[in-house]
Every structure is written in structure tokens, then in C-alpha cells.
């Protein structure tokens, strides 16, 4: 693995973001709108719901964390889609890049894109709605790590689909996280789901992450076994996504789709 190659791929996306003010605005705009909307919803529920009446901003905290997950996954997908849209795909794949260098470069760049979007929104949440993610305490670091890992994992699955099926897979890239959101129990407890769906939901790290967020904010209790379980599940899914990515890359070479990919 060579740092200069990872840095080169990072630079490609850094220059792209830097080159366009609308692009930066777009990164910041949606998370901010999302947080303002959920801020008011959260305020309403806090005033009128028995479940939430002891703790302000559970919904808003969940919304911020979900947006962090959403942005990390979409950012990863976007970096890959940019190459397809700009017809630069083949140039990259004939450069001496290893698959693990691509994954590392895109993971680092996606983090920066995510932070550009989410940090202003998080900063707004405190003065406007009195909600701070720091209320989650030291566990916040592990929760963010877990969410980011899941976002990247999902991104890797989608990118594998783009490699395997080409630009036609783009719609899945946009909708992938919406499919999992109902099962992630982001805004409601696991017990709301029917029994059979609970079984499926328990296979997702999201459930443990958001159950834990509610547990910390409502009861002030940190259950590290839940957090560890989420991290272990994430690790397993991440390994699986790497395997799928390698397979997709191999299959794309078999099918000859790495050459002349573009819209």
C-alpha cells in the first residue's frame, strides 16, 4: 500500500469539492434543513409525549446521528458516481491503484464530506434547540465510529453493485439507506416492530446503536455490551462488503465493464 496513491485519489475529490461553492453549499444545506425540521418535531414531542417528557431532544439526537450515517454512506457512493459521471472511471482503473488503496482513499474522503455537512448542523442544534450530542458522553465516540463503519459498509455494497451492473445501479445508490431505515429503529424502540421483523432488525448494528442512544439519554445508563455488539456486527458486515467489492471488481474485469464506463 502506498500513501502517495491514497493521497492522489483524495486530492482528486478535494479539488472537486473546493472548486465549487454550490457543491459545498449542497453538502451543508440538507443536513441543516434536516436538523431544523427534526428540531421542531423533537420540541413538539418533548412537550406532548409522555415517553419523551424527561429528556429533551432524543429524536433530534437520533436524527443527527442518522444523518451522519446517511451522509457517510451517500458520500462514499457519490465519490464513485463522480468517476462514472465524469467518464474518468477507466483512467483510475488503469492507474496503479490497489483495491485497498481505493477503499481507504474513499473512506477518508467520505469522512471529510460527511463532516463538512454535519458539523454546521450539529453546531446549530445546541443554540436553537438546546440539544448537544456531547450529552451522550464518551460512548458517543464508539457510536459515531459504529455508524460511520456501517455507512461505509453500505457504500461498499452499493459501489460493488455499480461495478457489477454499471450506471444503471445508480438509483439503488440513492435509496439504499431508506430501505434499512425502518428496520434500524432510529426513532422508535425495537419493541414497536412485529416479532418477525424484530428478528431481522436484530441482525443490524443500527438497532443496538439507536437503542443505546435512547437508553443513555432516557436512563443515563451506558450498556457497553450493546455498543460492542454493534461494533462486532459492523466488523462482520465490513469484511463481507470488502469481499463483495473484490468479487464485483473481478466480475467487472470478467465482463469487460471497466473499460468505457460512463453515462
Amino acid at each position: 500500500m502506498q500513501f502517495h496513491r491514497i493521497y492522489g485519489l483524495f486530492l482528486r475529490h478535494f479539488y472537486l469539492i473546493r472548486s465549487s461553492f454550490p457543491r459545498i453549499l449542497d453538502l451543508v444545506y440538507w443536513p441543516t434543513i434536516q436538523i431544523i425540521l427534526w428540531g421542531f418535531i423533537s420540541k413538539f414531542f418533548t412537550m406532548h409525549s409522555e415517553f419523551y417528557n424527561n429528556t429533551a431532544g432524543i429524536i433530534l439526537s437520533a436524527a443527527i446521528l442518522y444523518d451522519f450515517l446517511f451522509r457517510s454512506s451517500i458520500s462514499f457512493n457519490m465519490l464513485f458516481l463522480e468517476e462514472i459521471w465524469s467518464r474518468n472511471f477507466t483512467n483510475l482503473f488503469i492507474a496503479p491503484l490497489k483495491v485497498n488503496e481505493i477503499v481507504i482513499a474513499l473512506t477518508a474522503t467520505a469522512l471529510i464530506r460527511t463532516l463538512i455537512g454535519i458539523v454546521p448542523a450539529v453546531l446549530l442544534a445546541s443554540p436553537f434547540f438546546g440539544v448537544s450530542l456531547l450529552d451522550l458522553g464518551p460512548a458517543l465516540i464508539l457510536l459515531l465510529l459504529s455508524l460511520y463503519a456501517f455507512g461505509i459498509t453500505l457504500g461498499l455494497f452499493v459501489v460493488s453493485g455499480l461495478l457489477r451492473y454499471g450506471p444503471a445501479f445508480e438509483n439503488v445508490a440513492w435509496s439504499s439507506l431508506f430501505l434499512l431505515a425502518p428496520l434500524g429503529c432510529i426513532y422508535y424502540p425495537l419493541s414497536i416492530l412485529p416479532d418477525w421483523l424484530q428478528v431481522i432488525a436484530k441482525g443490524l448494528p443500527l438497532v443496538y446503536i439507536f437503542e443505546e442512544v435512547r437508553s443513555i439519554l432516557l436512563n443515563n445508563v451506558v450498556n457497553y455490551s450493546n455498543i460492542m455488539l454493534a461494533l462486532v456486527l459492523n466488523f462482520i458486515y465490513f469484511l463481507l462488503s470488502i469481499f463483495v467489492f473484490y468479487k464485483a471488481f473481478d466480475e467487472a474485469r470478467n465482463r469487460g465493464t471497466l473499460i468505457n464506463v460512463g453515462e
Binding site: S86, N88, N91, I259, G262
Partner: protein
């Protein structure tokens, strides 16, 4: 040892055979033309040499090493240009060259970029976004990217397609100079017979996924009893 050695190379897509059992060797420093009608397997062959397409059977050896076994290291010594692929349009010319310089691990990158921009008459466009350039200027930027790592092996897929005769001639001149200065090996796929006659030491003729003839341009012209390479091409394609 040959710079490129192709042994019994085949590529099948489901029921279609894109490349059928081709064999050839290219010695270091030679420029070889790859000619053939659309869909004859030229791009698939180039794709397999670059490791972008996995052969169904056979092998591609670059400097004696199988591309399938050591793809990343071998690609450091190679580069490619095609009118069907582009550089990111939103990046400036200099940014694009810097990105690819980093990807190829080019030493003294700043000097290399300045040198290429001067040779390719791009200095005044360094801060312009690549997407804002004319097709001739974009082609020169792509060529700069293809030369950024001083490739030992350069694969060119219709490098002057869609260029006006003046720019096309200019680009051919650059390729000629680069090849003689660096003793690089070049495989040139083209439909421009004058270009092939001017640049190439030898020619490979492909049809229906097979190499059906090969040799020096003059020898092929006399062997087929024609006036020039274009007539040879037409005879072979229509037979």
C-alpha cells in the same frame, strides 16, 4: 525479452468470442499499429493488456511478467489514452496532472508538470477547468496525463480521433518525439492509415477477433499488391 508478449489470448463474452487465440510480441522501443474494423477486438485486446479485462485463457506478459499476477506494479510503467475516456472536467489542467502524478508516484512532479505543459502548449491553460477546453486542448491534456509517468509502454486507442488535421499532426509529432526520446514501446490502435504508416514500425491486422496479417507497412502493401495501407485495410476487411 519482449516489452509485450501475448500468448494464445482469448476473450469470450457468453456466446461471443471477442478475441480468438491471438499471439504477438513487441520488442522494447518499437511502435506497433493495431488495425481492424470496428468491433474486431482491438479495444478488448488493449483492455486485456492493461489488466482491465480478464482473459478467458492465454496470457499477457509485460516485461516477462504476467499482468494478472502483478497488475499494480506493471501499471506503474504503462499508460493509456483513448477518446472514449476523459479527465475530470471540473478540475483544472494542473490539478488533473497533479492527481495523476501522485497516483503514478512521479518524482519531482512540479517540474514534470511544467515540462509537459510546455511541450504540449498547455502552459496558458494550467488554471483553466479541463471541461472548458476545446476538444483539441482536452486531447493534449489527456496526452499529458498519459505521459506523466514517462511510460515504458504506452497504449494509444485512436489518439487523434476527432481532431482537426493540424492538431492531429501536432499530436503525432509529440508521440514520435516521446517514443524516440524515451525508447518507449507503443501499441497504437487507429483507423487513420497515414498515422499508422508514419508512426509504426510494424502493423497487426485484426478481423473478427483474430490477427489475420502482420508485418511492416511496405511489406504488407507489396504483399497485397496495393498502393497504400488504406487499400490493404479495405481489401482485408471486405474479403
Amino acid at each position: 525479452m519482449s516489452a509485450i508478449e501475448i500468448n494464445n489470448l482469448n476473450k469470450k463474452y457468453k456466446r461471443t468470442s471477442a478475441v480468438k487465440n491471438i499471439n504477438f510480441k513487441i520488442s522494447k522501443g518499437k511502435t506497433i499499429g493495431l488495425l481492424g474494423p470496428n468491433g474486431c477486438g482491438k479495444s478488448t485486446t488493449l483492455g486485456m493488456i492493461l489488466g482491465l479485462i480478464k482473459p478467458t485463457s492465454g496470457s499477457v506478459l509485460i516485461n516477462g511478467e504476467n499482468i494478472e499476477n502483478n497488475r499494480t506494479n506493471l501499471l506503474e510503467k504503462m499508460n493509456f489514452i483513448s477518446p472514449y475516456i476523459e479527465l475530470p472536467k471540473k478540475l483544472t489542467v494542473e490539478e488533473n496532472l497533479k492527481v495523476y502524478g501522485k497516483l503514478y508516484g512521479v518524482k519531482n512532479l512540479k517540474n514534470k508538470i511544467s515540462e509537459l505543459m510546455e511541450v504540449l502548449n498547455l502552459t496558458e491553460f494550467g488554471n483553466r477547468k479541463t471541461g472548458e477546453l476545446s476538444s483539441g486542448q482536452k486531447n493534449r491534456v489527456s496526452l499529458a496525463k498519459a505521459l506523466i509517468n514517462d511510460p515504458e509502454i504506452l497504449l494509444l486507442d485512436e489518439p487523434t480521433a476527432s481532431l482537426d488535421p493540424d492538431v492531429g499532426d501536432y499530436v503525432r509529432g509529440i508521440i514520435e518525439k516521446f517514443a524516440s526520446k524515451n525508447n518507449s514501446t507503443i501499441l497504437l490502435a487507429s483507423h487513420n492509415m497515414n498515422e499508422v504508416e508514419r508512426l509504426c514500425d510494424e502493423v497487426l491486422m485484426m478481423k473478427n477477433g483474430e490477427i489475420i496479417d502482420q508485418g511492416k507497412s511496405n511489406n504488407l502493401i507489396s504483399k497485397h499488391g496495393r498502393k497504400n495501407l488504406e487499400e490493404v485495410f479495405l481489401k482485408i476487411v471486405r474479403s
